[in-house]
Amino acid sequence: MADRKFSKDHEWVEVAGGVGTVGITDYAQGQLGDVVFVELPAVGKKLGKGDNAAVVESVKAASEVYTPVSGDVTEVNQAIVDDPAKVNAEAEGGAWFFKLKLGNAAELGDLMDRAAYDAYLKTL
């Protein structure tokens, strides 16, 4: 958990061995409400920092998920496509969206750590 980072758009990324795992935060799933549909990027897709990477739809609205760091998509979590309710149940756990091989590890420096993100949430 030590190297989990957060974006202002409520995505999280956790890096291990040059590969980042990306998901949305618990706050984000709470704001969305019941998630009913998830669309993930194709494996191999090159993403720039801040690009639209995935789509998540709830009964209230459809939202885009942006990648907090650039890289090439190496794996996606089919389980949340098959059962979108997982995003509500375990947003910051098993319901990760995709993994990507980091293009530029320095980008992690632009993101917040847990304490900074929690403080940011208090300002919303």
Binding site: D34, V36, F37, V59, K60, A61, P84, A85
Partner: protein, 507 residues
Amino acid sequence: MSQNPHGTVTGNRGLQLEEPLIFEQGVAGRTGVDLPAAPQVKSRLGKAARKGTIGLPGLSEPQAIRHYTRLSQKNFAIDAGMYPLGSCTMKHNPRLNEKMVRLPGLADLHPMQPQSTVQGALALIDTLAHWLKTLTGMPAVAMSPAAGAQGELCGVMAIKAAHEAKGDHGRKVILVPESAHGTNPATAAACGYSVESIPANERGRVDLDALKAKLGPHVAGIMITNPNTCGLFENDIVEIGKAVHAAGGYFYCDGANFNAIVGRVRPGDLGIDCMHINLHKTFSTPHGGGGPGSGPVVLSAALAPYAPVPFVVHGPDGFKLVEEEAGEAAKAFGRLKGFHGQMGMFVRALTYMMSHGSDGMRQASEDAVLNANYIQARLGDIMTAPFPGPCMHEALFDDRFLNGSGVSTLDMAKALIDEGFHPMTMYFPLVVHGAFLIEPTESEHKATLDQFIAVMRSLVERIKKGDTQFLHDAPKLTPRRRLDETLAARKPVLRWRPAAPERQAAE
């Protein structure tokens, strides 16, 4: 009927009758009409022959009539009560419109009749076009788009054609404000543009400096709704137009909310290049209240040459339709729609214009704005408005006044249904948290507005007293209670299937 919540033997609630699906009522062999047995002939259908029955329900004529009548009684429409669906302009559709559109000389026309036999219809299109140009202060109009979204497509295709005609192929971006209707970015994307969003300022308007920072030789144009989807007039619109033009782009105005400013503002005076007009909103006949959509697009002199065919011109022998992309239509970007547009809507819109007159149309806009401001003022002390100041044709509230209560915008909407009101638009525009977008239109008189306001105030009172369960349980008085929208989206049941195995092949 063991689940019957009304305590009646039948499950009916007074004269509001329970009604099963028509397929559940069908009895094989029952019919409203006796037909002679079909003659036995050799089938020539080959592999196309039907393999099973088609599963039509067997019903008597009164059963069929009652079924649809009962369903219709469960419906709600602008003809039944107040329908304050923001952004939709659910105004009354005057019955004079319906009388005019049913005149045999208009209703019985065929779009492929020789032009010499439909001069009156062409004159009607031309007259409506004249008044649309007059009301908007624009030199040209494309009449054929079938609805607002197709009007947007028409406008953005004209913008694209204009850039390409100048040999300018480097413009790949359309700018769209955060609060835009979803159709705006969808239209830009459909035309091959990428979309960049412009943030709003603290007053709910386009942030002019942020917009200027995004302009450049890569920007094809901008799409702005005015008044915008927060029900606010974009005060900087003239400045926006100048900045976009200075950067070589074109200015698309989404005219979905033109109903707020008819007779008060001519969009042409604001520097726009094109704007669609929802005839079915601004000139009555809303969704389900009159006809289909119709979205003519007014065009500036810069974009007029690229307007789609067909269009009506004055020829030596009367009115003429230009249907080919040649001659005066050589630069037309193509054809958007079969035939000439939504003729029935043209008749209704022109009837509305001529029966109201310029003073009447102006008053309709003013009354729509007055009604919305009355609601905003009477609810402003107990609900929370995201932006300061008066509104245009719709009053917008956010859900801050619900903070900590556990009650959502959705709960409030459901409780309105029990009181006999169609809910307002909720959770749109997306830029406002838990939005309530209330558009009363000019059709509602003060007594109805007061009743609506009294209901909203009573609901907020309940919340203050802690009676929130009442709102979570709503609606209680409807034919069906609150639906499980999550389950419906996650596990939709999209078709009825017969219980009996022998009807498995049924459609």
